[in-house]
Symmetry: C2
């Protein structure tokens, strides 16, 4: 029964906490059939949502299009575009924590064509004008109803630690998990991150996305345990 007690204690240690998790890619339409997207599988965000819900948190998962089942006891809200994800996140405030794992498109097409863009014989190929999407992580980090804990993810292909430190400061989030997607295939099953906080950088070893989710859930539970009166 000692082990059972430990497990049930662990399972309950986020009870009463309302947590927002974003996951998957966003899809930015160009015209009725074409779009810009990215290789996010949603695996890491879904694993985190599952780990938090298993510990009793009330998890709201704002998800781009992925082919994954909704984890047990998780409320899932499906979105397509960054703008939709942004609005869904704001609509879910206040929350105790926001874990922004989604690979949100930085840009969308300036104009979404109502009809399929046609190839025009000898004319040059079109150029696609992009405009910047709203920054969900920065917005949540500076919101009037700011969550007590805001966590971001950064996928980089070069200058991992430099870019991640700059990103953490610029966005104003508390923690940032940065992974080098030139080493670990984006969308794959394994992950290896730098864990950045205001007080330093921890390199975490390579592990499965499930293990990383457990590890992060431990950190989140500790944060709220220390914060509690």
């Amino acid at each position: 029964t000692a082990i059972r007690d430990i497990i049930s204690h662990k399972q309950a240690d986020l009870k009463g906490r309302r947590i927002l998790v974003t996951a998957g890619p966003t899809v930015e339409p160009i015209d009725p059939v074409r779009f810009i997207s990215n290789r996010s599988s949603g695996l890491q965000g879904y694993a985190i949502a599952e780990a938090l819900a298993a510990r009793g948190a009330e998890v709201h998962l704002i998800s781009g299009p992925v082919s994954l089942p909704t984890p047990p006891h998780v409320t899932r809200i499906n979105v397509q575009t960054a703008q939709e994800m942004y609005e869904a996140c704001l609509a879910h405030l206040p929350v105790d924590a926001a874990i922004c794992v989604a690979a949100v498109s930085d840009w969308r097409a300036d104009t979404i064509q109502a009809h399929k863009i046609k190839k025009k014989g000898d004319e040059a190929a079109p150029t696609l004008s992009l405009v910047e999407n709203p920054d969900i992580l920065a917005t949540l980090s500076h919101a009037e109803q700011r969550p007590a804990l805001v966590v971001g993810f950064a996928a980089e292909t070069t200058h991992l630690q430099d870019y991640a430190q700059q990103k953490r400061q610029k966005k104003g989030c508390d923690w940032l998990l940065a992974n080098d997607v030139s080493k670990h295939q984006f969308g794959g099953a394994e992950n290896q991150v730098l864990f950045l906080t205001g007080s330093g950088v921890e390199p975490w070893p390579e592990m499965s996305k499930q293990d990383l989710a457990q590890h992060l859930a431990d950190k989140i539970a500790s944060f709220f345990h220390q914060e509690a009166p």
Copy 2:
């Protein structure tokens, strides 16, 4: 046994025919994580490959990334980009028929960035320069080893019959199946097409993608039956 005879006759009526089918979207990378693609599910192309193989044809299915199982007795070749699909198609010639169902990206990014493109603070969002991809349907229709039968698909959102007739002539294919993707959701389970040949236009009724595949397989079998000495 009369019915059994009809079925086994039907099942064998494409025996000895080598047929190329393309299916699914292509994915055109922008950088290591971002890409341009389209909403093709691969359902129609896979249904056609399955119907042709069930009638004894030797089917080579050149497929963009989709989440569908390979149909029985079909040889599947996975590709990502239009350029890869183009090369795979040419490498499979000669064939008796080519059925081009894939939604091939007309354009790709002019330059694929080796590193993830960074958002640059106050600077304007980037513009994406596109270049035209090789035209697989036109190339097969004019190849030295031209298949006896070349069939294309056209997804349009407006001026369906006009655009389709222009497309059939411009590409040089024998038959073109044109569907209005503003009416029938692109990537969905149902389909409704205009069937265009050199001798006219047949509007086919709305039907499932499986039924459309059977209908087209009937036409293909008739074509080779009439062509045979």
